[in-house]
């Protein structure tokens, strides 16, 4: 028999009958916590289709589905999620390189069709697409680092008096740290003109396998010493790592591989042509990146290749345009040594039109490749631009490399805002420092700093070296001495402030504020406003016969000109860029190969 309390206590529960219950009758429709990990959302404009979400998913719940055509830096793929497998761990959100992938706090959804639970967030419209609440990564990306290791460089005081290489290259520790930041999406491969297998060679660094790295580099580019230093690295502009941090230092990683493989080892890895000689002969005009890449490929296909080069040494613009402090000559020589080892003969000091004619090449060789570069400087044609003391940047750079004596006055003005302008400004600054102990270079560029043409680091380093850069200034006249001993010689450069460069149709028509005039007192003016090809070597007959495209030799997608025996590529055809020239070289070699095979077949 229990106590009285046992009998009465059930009735005391009645006192709660009018209180609100803490349980919920129908849990469907109840809102989850603010940071609940529910169904995914994807900002498809922000998403670049890199597939990192798919790679990290530990349940294989994500597929990449094409929803648009690929373009630079965007594969056009978007993640589709199979909620039959998703465990809602949110690793995909944490790894997302752009921050486009998030999760709403919606977690209830009823449907009798199992396939309904597989959809592409952001593309297949869902009721929770615009929910504010849910899970998103707090702060910056954490699973892959945000910043590059800092590159060791010569300090301005240590470098301004000489032409020593500025950039030191990464150490093994730095390179591994940087390689670890790469998610291996491969979006960069399409953007690289030569389609280098970037994620693969970065993986080789991580593994410490530099032989494999070298092999991968050589599959698409015989100029890794050069491109590891001076490539325009368009790949880095589409890198998935750039959206919340710095893009991977792809260029420096390439250099790191080649820094770690000796010249002898490189020759062992690359080897020599492994095919029987075809007995066919190819002439290449110009030993720059396009010509030598074509020569490399063609020699490895068994053809006898002769390269004709007007200068005393091979390399073209890589040697005679790019200053030594950016690309040391011995680095270039190491790249060229591997190409020569393929049996390529390089005849230097042989100028077409003077020492041998194109007609002779046409007669003596089975195919001819024209890769003559852009070696003539353009002139501003402002009054006074033909006065003594006015120089073309490209010509001056060549003379400095060739070891010729160049005039070095105390005050120099450079017209132009591209990388060539920076190259000559910094070269002249070094010569001035050696001669006078101080720098006196003024660069005047049409563009303002927000629209500058030269690379940012070039501008920064120029400033560090004491070079004056005046943006948005247009040349009006090169002032000359009107009398005296130096009559006719350069006295200064007169510029006006630029108010706009292009008109509404996008045509080049600079407008000036004439009230803002400056006269820069200098003894030398260097014009660095662009280059053109020296097409006089073609001769009248061939010039007449060839098809042209806006002043450049017209070629088809394979680099074939309108003349069946002649191919063309590189800067002279596609504008200045080393890696583009390398890509041209490969294309031309492939096309020449096909043509020569057909020719051999026909002659059987």
């Amino acid at each position: 028999m229990g106590s009285l309390r046992d009998v009465l206590s059930p009735f005391t529960a009645w006192k709660h009958v009018i209180e609100t219950p803490v349980t919920i009758k129908n849990p469907i429709g109840r809102e989850a916590a603010d940071r609940y990990r529910g169904f995914h959302q994807n900002d498809t404009d922000k998403c670049i289709g890199c597939g990192s979400c798919e790679d990290i998913c530990q349940n294989a719940a994500i597929d990449m589905i094409p929803v648009d055509n690929p373009k630079d830096g965007d594969s056009g793929l978007r993640p589709q999620i199979d909620y039959g497998r998703c465990c809602w761990c949110a690793l995909c959100v944490d790894v997302c390189m752009t921050g486009s992938l998030t999760m709403s706090n919606e977690y209830t959804w009823v449907d009798s069709d199992p396939d309904a639970f597989r959809f592409i967030p952001g593309v297949d419209k869902m009721p929770w697409d615009d929910f504010e609440k849910g899970y998103e990564r707090q702060g910056d990306r954490m699973l892959s680092g945000l910043t590059r290791p800092e590159m060791a460089e010569l300090e301005p005081e240590a470098r301004i008096g000489n032409f020593d290489e500025i950039v030191a290259g990464y150490s093994r520790e730095q390179a591994v740290l940087e390689a670890d930041r790469c998610v291996e999406c491969g979006l960069c491969v399409a953007t690289c003109p030569a389609h280098m297998d970037i994620p693969d060679y970065i993986a080789a660094i991580r593994e410490g396998d530099y032989d494999l790295g070298t092999q991968i580099l050589y599959e698409t580019n015989p100029f890794s010493e050069v491109c590891g230093r001076v490539c325009t690295h368009k790949c880095e502009t589409v890198c998935a790592a750039q959206y919340e941090g710095e893009p991977i230092a792809i260029r420096w990683l390439k250099r790191h591989i080649i820094d770690n493989v000796s010249e002898e080892r490189r020759l062992e890895i690359v080897g020599t042509p492994q095919v029987l000689p075809t007995g066919q002969k190819v002439a290449v005009v110009g030993a720059g990146p396009a010509g030598l890449t074509a020569a490399y490929d063609l020699a490895r296909s068994g053809h006898a290749v002769t390269v004709f080069e007007a200068q005393d040494k091979p390399g073209g613009m890589m040697r005679y345009g790019i200053p030594e402090y950016r690309l040391p000559y011995d680095a270039l020589d190491r790249d060229i040594a591997v190409i020569k080892a393929q049996g390529v003969e390089i005849k230097t000091g042989t100028r077409i039109g003077t020492d041998i004619t194109l007609d002779q090449l046409k007669a003596d060789y089975d195919a001819t490749v024209l890769s003559i570069g852009l070696h003539l400087g353009r002139s501003t044609r402002v009054p006074g631009s033909d006065a003594p003391g006015v120089e073309a940047a490209i010509d001056l750079l060549r003379r400095i490399t060739a070891g010729e004596e160049v005039p070095v006055p105390k005050k120099v003005a450079v017209i132009g805002g591209g990388n060539v302008a920076m190259d000559i400004a910094r070269s002249m600054a070094r010569l001035q420092k050696q001669k006078f102990g101080e720098v006196g270079v003024t660069v005047t560029a049409l563009e303002d700093f927000d629209h500058f043409l030269a690379d940012k680091e070039e501008v920064t380093e120029s400033f560090e070296e004491g070079i004056e850069i005046l943006d948005a200034r247009g040349p009006q006249e090169i002032v000359t001495f009107k009398s005296g001993k130096r009559k006719g010689h350069v006295k200064g450069l007169r510029t006006w402030k630029v108010t706009s460069i292009f008109d509404e149709q996008g045509r080049f028509t600079p407008q000036y504020d004439e009230g803002d005039e400056m006269v820069h007192e200098v003894e030398m003016v260097v014009e660095a406003i662009g280059q053109m090809a020296d097409i006089s070597l073609l001769g009248d007959e061939l010039t007449e016969a060839l098809e042209w495209n806006r002043g450049r030799i017209a070629v088809d997608a394979d680099g074939h000109t309108s003349e069946p025996w002649l191919w063309g590529g590189g800067d002279a055809v596609h504008g200045p860029d080393v890696i583009h020239a390398v890509a041209d070289g490969h294309k031309i070699a492939a096309s020449v190969n096909v043509a020569l095979m057909a020719k051999a077949e026909a002659e059987k």
């Binding site: 890199c50 998913c57 294989a60 589905i65 793929l77 491969g186």
Partner: protein, 175 residues
């Protein structure tokens, strides 16, 4: 907390003290001193509550780290004792007689990391994994993705595309 660590140091082998926050400290301890240290901290220093017992897999060093988090409510202080054991011979000493709740944590560690705690009640019974036959899943050499692919059926009609190959195919088909 520095005072407490200094006070204990002459009698115990304590290492690597980390003063993470004003109310949170970590310190390395040795296996032979663990029991004595826990008892002293519980009975003399006011650390009456076992917050949790968990493990970290330091696979590269061949060690498991056991972390005993204990709390002094009065002083609002939490102390984490880190104890390293051999990963190849993963065995800890049960402390269920000091804190009964430890038995549950030890059962979980047995299942998820494969760390044995001889003498701990029901330690070899299944905890949350039913019918598990694979390697303990919190060990870092457990391949979650491979397990999920082998264990769960792929729903029909699934197909994925590699970003790099897609771009190659569409943007530079010539190679």
């Amino acid at each position: 907390m520095r005072d407490l660590i200094e006070k204990l140091t002459p009698r115990y082998t304590l290492g690597n003290a980390t003063y993470q926050r004003a109310d949170l400290t970590f310190v390395d301890v040795t296996r032979d001193e663990l029991r004595a240290l826990l008892l002293e901290l519980r009975d003399k220093e006011g650390f009456t509550h076992l917050v949790l017992l968990t493990a970290v897999d330091w696979i590269e060093e061949g060690k498991f780290q056991l972390t005993y988090m204990i709390n002094n409510r009065e002083a609002d202080q939490t102390l984490g004792l880190r104890l390293y054991i051999d990963r190849n011979d993963a065995e800890g000493d049960t402390i269920h007689d000091i804190w009964p709740t430890a038995a549950t944590y030890q059962r979980e560690l047995r299942e998820m990391f494969g760390i044995a705690f001889p003498g701990s009640p029901r330690v070899d019974e299944e905890f949350i994994l039913e019918g598990w036959t694979d390697m303990p899943p919190y060990r870092r050499d457990f391949d979650t993705l491979a397990y999920s692919q082998q264990t769960y059926v792929e729903r029909e009609g699934r197909e994925t595309h590699d970003p790099r190959a897609t771009m190659k195919h569409k943007m530079y088909p010539e190679g």
